[in-house]
C-alpha cells in the first residue's frame, strides 16, 4: 500500500493506483474527458491535471501513478486556471449549438463547462465547417463537434478491431476520420455503435428516425406493428429515469400502444423461433457434416464483420436470419393472415438496442415478404425520446398484454439480450431434443459472465459438443483466426459484437459502461428466472406456427422466410 495525501485527506492505495482512481476512492472528484473507464489511458485532454508537490508541471491524474508520500492538490489556483482554459479552448473550436444537439443534457463537455463556470471564451469562435457524414444507414458523424479525445478510435480499434476510425491531419487541423478519409459506410464499419457510447459529445450518434415514426403514425391507412427486442425493456427504464429493469413489460406494452402502435408483439417470439431453426441446423451440421464450428447469426454487426474480414469463412455462419428479420418476414405474411390484415398496409417497426439493426433492415436480402420486411428500426434511445416528446410515461399506464400469434415468449428468448444468452437458450433446446430428457440444471453458468471468451462442453448422449461464447469483436477475431487456420476446436460459437451482448448495444441509453452492461445482464437473468416457460421449444405460439404454417424446422417455408445467405464484403477494407 502507498500512503498519499489528496487535498489534505490522508489515504492509502494499492501499488499501481492512478491519482484519479485514488481521488475517486476518497470522494474527490476530478473532471475527465478523454478518460473512459473501460479503455486504455490516453491522457489527451488534460482536464484531469492536478498539482503534485515538488513537480514543476501539472500532472494528468488519469495516467500518473500514486507514489509514496505524494502530496496532491486537485483544486489549486493553477489547476483551476488550467482546466478552465482548456475547456475554453475546446469550446472555441466546438459549435455553440447545444440547444439542438442530440446530446444536449447528456454531454460531458456541457457538464464540465457548467461545473467550471465557463461563462465566456476570450478566443475567437472557430468552426471547422465540415460536412456531416450521413453515408451510413445507422450512424451519423458530425466532425465539427469532435473534441479529439480518441475514445471512439480506441473502442473501434482496440475492442472491436474494426479500425474504421482513425486520426488524420495534424495539429489544429486534426480530425477523426473513417479509414482513408472515406465515407463511413464505405469503410469496414460494422455499425455496432460502440463509438456512440464512447463519444463524450454529440460527434457520433445514431441515424435518428423519430420523425419517420410520426409520419407513419399520421397515415390513417398504415397499421403500425412493433416488435421489442429482449434487451430493450431492461434499459428503457434508464431512459425514463428509473432503475435498470424497473419498467414492467405490460406497462411498456401499454405505453407503446398509447404512443400509437396498433399491435405490439415481441422479438423474443422469433428469438425462440431462431433457437428452433438454429438448434436443428447445428444438429444437422454435426450429423451430416456441415461447416463447423457453426456461428450464430443474430447479430448484424458480427455478420458484417465476418463478411468484411472473413469472407472465405461465411459458410460457418448459421443461415438463420436474426430474430428481427424472422419477425419481419413473418409479420407481413403469416401474422397478417392470422389477423386478417392486408399486409400491404402493415408498417413494421422494430425497437432495438442496436444501431446495426437499422442497417440490417435495409439489407437487400431482407424483403422475403414482397416488401421491405422491417420498415423502421428505432433504438432504445429513440423510443425514450418518443415517450418524452409525447409526454407518456409508461410506468403510469394500466398495463396491457401483447397481441396474439407472435407475442408469446419464453425465458430462453429473453436470454438473447445478454452475452451467452443465445448459447444457453440453444443448449436448453438442443439437449432436450436430442436426448429426450429434461435438463437437470436449466441455468448454464459456464456460458454466463463477462469474460471475453467462455467455453463449455455438453454431452449429447455420447456426442460431446464443444461450445464457445464471445462478445466484443476483438474476441470474435481471435476465434476466427483459429477457424481460418483450421484449428478451432468448437462445434458452436455465439458471437455478439457489443461487449455484454445486446444489453450493451449501440442503441442503448447513454451511459453504457461495462458496469452498466453487467447490471443489465443481471436484469436479463432475473427476468428469465421468473418466466413460467424457459425453453424455446415449449413456446406454444411457436409450436402453432410450425403446426399451422412452417410444418417443421428447416422445412421449405423456413428456408424461404427464415434463412438467408451472406456475401463477401472484403472490398470494404
Amino acid at each position: 500500500m502507498i500512503n498519499i495525501t489528496i487535498n489534505g485527506r490522508e489515504t492509502s492505495v494499492p501499488v499501481g493506483t492512478t491519482i484519479l482512481q485514488a481521488a475517486q476512492g476518497c470522494g474527490v472528484k476530478i473532471p475527465t474527458l478523454c478518460h473512459y473507464p473501460d479503455q486504455a489511458v490516453k491522457a489527451n485532454c488534460r482536464v484531469c491535471v492536478v498539482d503534485v508537490e515538488e513537480q514543476k508541471n501539472l500532472l494528468p491524474s488519469c495516467s500518473t501513478m500514486a507514489a509514496e508520500g505524494m502530496n496532491i492538490r486537485t483544486n489549486t489556483a493553477r489547476v483551476m486556471e488550467a482546466r478552465k482554459t482548456i475547456l475554453e479552448l475546446i469550446l472555441a473550436h466546438h459549435p455553440q449549438d447545444c440547444l439542438h444537439c442530440i446530446r444536449n443534457g447528456q454531454c460531458e463537455l456541457q457538464e464540465l463547462t457548467t461545473e467550471y463556470n465557463v461563462r465566456q471564451s476570450c478566443f475567437e469562435q472557430d468552426s471547422r465547417d465540415l460536412p456531416l457524414d450521413i453515408s451510413s444507414p445507422a450512424i451519423v458523424r458530425d466532425p465539427n463537434k469532435c473534441i479529439l479525445c480518441g475514445r471512439c478510435i480506441e473502442v473501434c480499434s482496440s475492442i472491436q478491431t474494426v479500425n474504421a476510425l482513425g486520426l488524420a491531419y495534424r495539429g489544429y487541423d486534426s480530425q477523426v476520420v473513417p479509414s482513408m478519409d472515406k465515407d463511413l459506410f464505405e469503410t469496414a464499419c460494422v455499425m455496432c455503435g460502440q463509438c456512440i457510447h464512447a463519444c463524450p459529445v454529440g460527434a457520433i450518434h445514431e441515424k435518428e428516425q423519430v420523425d419517420d415514426f410520426f409520419q407513419a403514425a399520421a397515415d390513417p391507412k398504415k397499421i403500425l406493428v412493433t416488435q421489442i427486442a429482449p434487451a430493450v425493456r431492461i434499459a428503457i427504464a434508464e431512459e425514463l429515469g428509473m432503475e435498470t429493469g424497473e419498467l414492467s413489460m405490460d406497462k411498456f406494452v401499454a405505453g407503446l400502444k398509447e404512443l400509437g402502435f396498433d399491435y405490439v408483439l415481441h422479438t423474443n417470439f422469433t428469438a425462440d423461433l431462431t433457437i428452433m431453426e438454429e438448434g436443428h441446423e447445428l444438429l444437422r451440421r454435426i450429423q451430416e457434416g456441415g461447416a463447423l464450428p457453426m456461428f450464430t447469426s443474430c447479430c448484424p454487426a458480427w455478420v458484417r464483420f465476418a463478411e468484411v474480414f472473413y469472407p472465405e469463412q461465411l459458410d460457418h455462419l448459421s443461415s438463420c436470419k436474426s430474430p428481427q428479420q424472422m419477425f419481419g418476414s413473418l409479420v407481413k405474411g403469416y401474422w397478417a393472415d392470422k389477423m386478417g390484415i392486408d399486409l400491404a398496409n402493415i408498417y413494421s417497426v422494430s425497437i432495438m438496442p442496436c444501431t446495426a439493426k437499422k442497417y440490417e433492415a435495409q439489407r437487400p436480402e431482407m424483403n422475403d415478404s414482397g416488401f421491405q420486411d422491417v420498415d423502421l428500426v428505432l433504438t432504445t434511445r429513440e423510443i425514450g425520446r418518443l415517450f418524452k416528446m409525447t409526454g407518456i410515461h409508461p410506468a403510469d399506464t394500466q398495463g396491457a398484454a401483447f397481441d396474439p400469434w407472435m407475442g408469446e415468449y419464453t425465458g430462453a428468448g429473453v436470454l438473447f439480450g445478454a452475452t451467452g444468452g443465445v448459447m444457453e437458450a440453444a443448449l436448453r433446446t438442443v439437449y432436450e431434443v436430442v436426448t429426450g430428457r429434461d435438463l437437470e440444471q436449466i441455468e448454464l453458468t459456464e456460458v454466463r459472465g463477462m469474460e471475453g471468451l467462455r467455453e463449455a462442453e455438453i454431452d449429447l448422449d455420447g456426442t460431446p459438443v464443444k461450445v464457445a461464447v464471445v462478445h466484443g469483436l476483438g474476441n470474435a477475431r481471435r476465434i476466427m483466426e483459429d477457424v481460418q487456420n483450421g484449428t478451432s476446436p468448437y462445434h458452436f460459437v455465439e458471437v455478439m459484437a457489443c461487449p455484454g451482448g445486446c444489453v450493451g448495444g449501440g442503441g442503448q441509453p447513454i451511459t453504457t459502461s461495462n458496469t452498466k452492461r453487467e447490471e443489465r445482464v443481471e436484469a436479463i437473468y432475473g427476468e428469465d428466472r421468473y418466466m413460467p416457460i424457459r425453453k424455446s421449444h415449449e413456446n406454444q405460439e411457436v409450436l402453432s406456427l410450425y403446426l399451422d404454417f412452417l410444418e417443421e424446422p428447416l422445412g421449405h417455408r423456413s428456408h424461404e422466410l427464415l434463412h438467408t445467405q451472406y456475401t463477401a464484403k472484403n472490398d470494404q477494407v
Binding site: A43, L58, A82, R170
Partner: protein
C-alpha cells in the same frame, strides 16, 4: 578477439604514402555543396587535367566555417596546408594554377593555414589562432572537415574504432556504464538527461531483445550540428551506438534521420556497409562474440518525431505521436522492448570518452554541465557556421568573438537559443555562461544547439509569431493545450503584428503560455510558449508599442509602418510616384511629394527606388 591494429598500421602506411603527394580537399557537406562546392570540384578536376598537374582530389565534410564556403584546401608535402575560402570556380582555377603550377601561395584567397609541424607561411593567419577557431574545442567535430567521410580508412587512421576495441576487450557493461556516468555526459538533444543513467536503466531492464536508437531528426530551424556529424564523420556515430549496444545488451540499432538529409543518409549507408565489410558491425564483431547491426529509418518531416516516444512510433510505422511516459523507452521502447535513445552528438562523444577517459571529459565544462557543445551560428553575425566550445563559455564570447559580432555595423538585439523551444537572450545577459541550468533559468534552453542572432532590425513580436507559427504547425494534435492553445497564441500574435492587438492580449498570452507549459503532454507543447514568454520578459515594451501605440519599433510589421517623404530631401523626381503600385504617392513634378496613408500598402518599393534617401519608415 581480433584487433584492428594491423589494419590501422596498413592504413597509416597507405596514408603516409598519400601524404607524399599533393592533395586538394574540397568541402562537400550540404553547406559546401549549396555554396557551389561541386562546381569548384569540376573546375579543379578539369584544370588539373588541362595543365597535366598531379594531385589527389578528396572530398570532406563541413569544417565549420560556413561563412567561407566553398572552401578548398591545398596540401603540398612539406608545407602547411593552406585553406582558401569564398572561392568561385574561376578563382579555384587561379589557385590551382598558382599554388600547384607555380608553387606560389595565392594570398588573395587564402584565409588560413594549418602550420602544425611546418614552417609557417608568412601573411596567412594560423587557423587555430583565428578568432573563429581560437576559443573552440573540437571533440565531436574533431574529424569533420579533416577526413573523407566516405573512407573508413580515414576514420580508422585517426583513432577510429579504438574505443570499440577497448570496450570489447577490456570492459564489462557495468564498468562501461560507470565510466559514462563518471564523465557526467548529459544528453545533447535538449533535455540534458545524464546519459550514463539512461544507459543504466536500459541495462537493468530484463529482456532478450533491446534496441539502441539514434535521434537524428534534427528539426529546429537554424540547427545543423547533427547533420555535420552525419555528413562529416558518420563512423563516430556508429561507434558510439555500438558501444551503447554493448553496454545495455542490445544487438540492433536504428538511426532515425530526417528525410531532408539525403546526403547524410547516403554517407551513413556507405559507412554502415564499410564497417560491416570489415567486421566492425554485424555478427560477431571483431570475433568478440558481440553482434550489432544498424538500420536507417528516414523520417517523414514531422518535428514532433524528435520527441522520443513519437520517434519510436514513427519507426514502428505508426503515426508519429508522443505517448505518456512512464513507461520510459528504457523499460518499454521500440516494439515494446527496452530501448536507449540518444541524439547524434551524444553518441558522437562516446568514443572519445572511452578512449581518453571520463576524467578528461569531465575536466571540461562547468560543475553540472561537462564537456563541449556544438552550436550552429546563424542570423545576423559576421561568421556563420558551426562552433564547438567548452560548456561554460559565455554567450558574448560565442556571438562576438567566434561569430565576429553583428553584420553591417548594426546593434545586437538578442540571440535565440534552443530553437522554437528555447528563448531569446538580450544584451544585458550575454555574459551568462552557456550551460544547461543557467540557460533554463533565463527562460531559454540549451536545446540541440541552434543559435540565431538578431540585430536591431528584428521585431521581437514578429519573432515570437514566427516561432509560434512553427510549433503550431508542428503540433501533432494529440493533447488539447498544445493543439488548441498554440493556435490561439498564434492568432493573438498575428493580431498584434497586424495592429489589431487588444489591451488584454498580453494577459491572455501569458495565461495560455502558463497553461500550455504546465499541462501539455510532451516536450513540444511544454516548451512551445517559451519564445513568447522570453520575448515578453525581455522585450515587453515592443509588445506594448504594438498594442497601444500601433508602432513596430524595428520597422518590420507592415501594418504598423507609416511611409513618409522628407519634404526637405525630396526633389520631386517622380520616380517613387511612378513605381507605386497603388497610386498612393501624390505631388507635382519638381515639388516635394507626399504619401496618402490610406492608400499605401507599405510595400517599400518607393524606398528602394528613391535616389535621395527622402523616403523613410516612421
Amino acid at each position: 578477439m581480433r584487433s584492428l591494429n594491423e589494419q590501422r598500421m596498413m592504413v597509416q602506411k597507405k596514408q603516409d604514402e598519400q601524404d607524399k603527394r599533393i592533395k586538394i580537399v574540397i568541402g562537400l557537406g550540404t553547406c559546401g555543396i549549396a555554396a557551389g562546392g561541386n562546381k569548384i570540384w569540376e573546375a579543379v578536376e578539369s584544370e588539373l587535367a588541362l595543365q597535366g598537374l598531379q594531385a589527389d582530389m578528396v572530398s570532406t565534410g563541413c569544417i565549420g566555417m560556413c561563412y567561407a564556403e566553398p572552401i578548398m584546401e591545398v596540401f603540398v608535402p612539406g608545407e602547411p596546408r593552406v585553406i582558401y575560402g569564398n572561392l568561385t570556380p574561376e578563382q579555384a582555377i587561379e589557385v590551382v594554377d598558382l599554388h600547384l603550377g607555380k608553387s606560389e601561395i595565392c594570398l588573395d584567397y587564402a584565409i588560413a593555414q594549418d602550420p602544425r609541424g611546418f614552417e609557417p607561411i608568412p601573411y596567412i593567419p594560423d587557423l587555430f589562432q583565428t578568432p573563429f577557431y581560437e576559443k573552440q574545442t573540437k571533440t565531436v567535430l574533431g574529424r569533420c572537415g579533416m577526413i573523407d567521410p566516405d573512407n573508413i580508412e580515414d576514420y580508422i587512421a585517426r583513432d577510429g574504432y579504438v574505443a570499440l576495441e577497448k570496450v570489447l576487450s577490456t570492459f564489462g557493461p557495468i564498468e562501461l556504464i560507470e565510466e559514462i556516468k563518471n564523465s557526467d555526459l548529459r544528453g545533447r538533444g535538449g533535455g540534458g538527461f545524464p546519459t550514463g543513467r539512461k544507459w543504466e536503466a536500459a541495462y537493468q531492464s530484463q529482456s532478450d531483445k533491446k534496441y539502441v536508437v539514434c535521434n537524428a531528426d534534427e528539426g529546429d530551424p537554424g540547427a545543423f550540428m547533427d547533420r555535420s556529424v552525419l555528413e562529416g564523420d558518420p563512423h563516430s556515430l556508429l561507434e558510439g551506438m555500438a558501444i551503447c549496444g554493448y553496454a545495455i545488451g542490445a544487438d540492433e540499432g536504428y538511426i532515425y534521420v530526417r528525410a531532408e538529409y539525403p546526403l547524410a543518409i547516403k554517407r551513413l549507408k556507405k559507412a554502415i556497409s564499410d564497417a560491416e565489410a570489415m567486421g566492425i558491425l554485424g555478427k560477431n564483431i571483431l570475433d568478440s562474440g558481440f553482434d550489432f547491426t544498424i538500420h536507417i529509418t528516414a523520417g517523414a518531416g514531422a518535428f514532433v518525431c524528435g520527441e522520443e516516444t513519437a520517434l519510436l512510433h514513427s519507426i514502428e510505422g505508426k503515426r508519429g505521436m508522443p505517448r505518456v511516459r512512464p513507461p520510459y523507452p528504457a523499460q518499454s521502447g521500440l516494439w515494446g522492448q527496452p530501448t536507449n535513445i540518444n541524439n547524434v552528438e551524444t553518441y558522437a562523444n562516446i568514443a572519445s570518452i572511452v578512449r581518453r577517459g571520463a576524467g578528461w571529459f569531465a575536466s571540461m565544462g562547468t560543475e553540472n554541465s561537462k564537456g563541449s557543445k556544438v552550436f550552429a551560428l546563424t542570423g545576423k553575425v559576421k561568421r556563420t557556421g558551426l562552433a564547438e566550445v567548452p560548456i561554460g563559455i559565455s554567450l558574448r564570447e560565442i556571438v562576438f568573438d567566434i561569430a565576429g559580432g553583428i553584420q553591417d555595423n548594426k546593434q545586437y538585439k538578442a540571440v535565440q537559443i534552443g530553437g522554437p523551444s528555447g528563448g531569446c537572450i538580450p544584451e544585458s545577459l550575454l555574459d551568462t555562461p552557456v550551460d544547461y541550468d543557467s540557460l533554463l533559468e533565463l527562460g531559454a534552453m540549451m536545446g540541440s544547439g541552434g543559435l540565431v542572432v538578431m540585430d536591431e532590425s528584428t521585431c521581437m513580436v514578429d519573432l515570437a509569431r514566427y516561432f509560434l507559427t512553427f510549433t503550431q504547425e508542428e503540433s501533432c494534435g494529440k493533447c488539447t493545450p498544445c493543439r488548441e492553445g498554440t493556435k490561439r497564441m498564434l492568432e493573438i500574435l498575428q493580431r498584434i503584428c497586424e495592429g489589431d492587438g487588444k489591451p488584454e492580449d498580453i494577459d491572455t498570452l501569458e495565461r495560455l503560455a502558463r497553461v500550455i507549459k504546465s499541462t501539455s503532454l510532451c516536450g513540444l507543447g511544454q516548451s512551445a510558449p517559451n519564445p513568447v514568454l522570453a520575448t515578453l520578459k525581455y522585450f515587453r515594451s515592443e509588445y506594448e508599442a504594438h498594442i497601444y501605440d500601433k508602432r513596430c519599433l524595428a520597422g518590420v510589421c507592415k501594418n504598423l509602418l507609416l511611409f513618409k517623404i522628407d519634404q526637405e530631401k525630396c526633389k520631386g523626381c517622380t520616380l517613387c510616384k511612378n513605381v507605386c503600385p497603388v497610386d498612393a504617392i501624390k505631388g507635382e513634378r519638381k515639388k516635394p511629394h507626399y504619401i496618402d496613408e490610406e492608400k499605401c500598402i507599405r510595400c517599400g518599393t518607393c524606398i528602394s527606388k528613391c535616389t535621395f534617401d527622402a523616403i523613410y519608415r516612421g
